[in-house]
């Protein structure tokens, strides 16, 4: 049973560029959440998608946007990259409402130079 798959694993971008990160949820899960983890910190919630709609959003600017596809996979887009966007981006999947808990992928490490 495949877990949560994220791509790419590492990425280097220049300030001002745009980036798209991808996530495939665990088989049987229908909800995808995205988190940002800065070095030495705990993950911070960005947003959650269910039924192709954003259900809730954390304290992140509109430069962060997302999408969920009919097969439940998801993308995270970040526009106008800043140096401060450098972080590990984690995708988590779950059943709706977080029943039985969340499963995390290995993350995408984004470096903005």
């Amino acid at each position: 049973d495949a877990g949560v798959t994220q791509s790419p694993t590492h990425l280097i971008k220049t300030r001002g560029q745009q980036v798209t990160l991808r996530c495939s949820p665990k088989s049987g899960h229908d909800t995808v959440s995205w988190y940002q983890q800065a070095l030495g910190q705990g993950p911070q919630f960005i947003f959650q998608y269910y039924e192709e709609e954003e259900r809730q959003r954390g304290n992140f600017p509109d430069r962060f946007s997302g999408h969920q596809f009919p097969n439940y996979s998801s993308e995270l887009n970040v526009n106008a990259l800043l140096l401060g966007d450098s972080a590990l981006y984690l995708c988590a999947s779950s059943l709706v409402g977080g029943k039985e808990g969340y499963t995390f992928g290995s993350g995408t490490r984004l470096t903005v130079v």
Partner: protein
């Protein structure tokens, strides 16, 4: 929003020792999970434990929801147990997101 506090922030053990990690939270929760983050960044789910006690090998966890805390026990620690342990919760009022504590950095020396 809900607050999550983990203690201790850092813990250094000799291989074979036992340890207890604590997580306090400020509101009633719908979900509580313990994770181990490996050196490559992946969050490994250890326990989904909004209440009660569970055991998995050398690890066990207890959540006392009425008193708003959870404990993670590691027995006979091994060097491979090293890493950061996170407690994460979602509150009954907002079961769409996990709020993480700052983690406990565990170092197990041979």
């Amino acid at each position: 929003g809900i607050q999550v506090e983990q203690s201790p922030p850092d813990l250094i053990l000799q291989e074979g020792a036992n340890s207890t990690l604590r997580c306090n939270f400020s509101d009633s929760v719908n979900n509580l999970q313990w994770f181990h983050q490996n050196p490559w960044g992946q969050l490994i789910n250890l326990f989904y434990i909004p209440s009660g006690t569970k055991q998995n090998g050398r690890l066990s966890a207890t959540t006392v929801a009425t008193e708003r805390y959870s404990l993670l026990y590691i027995s006979s620690s091994q060097t491979t147990d090293s890493g950061v342990y996170f407690c994460a919760v979602d509150s009954l009022g907002s079961n769409y997101k996990l709020t993480f504590g700052k983690g406990t950095l565990l170092t197990v020396n041979p």
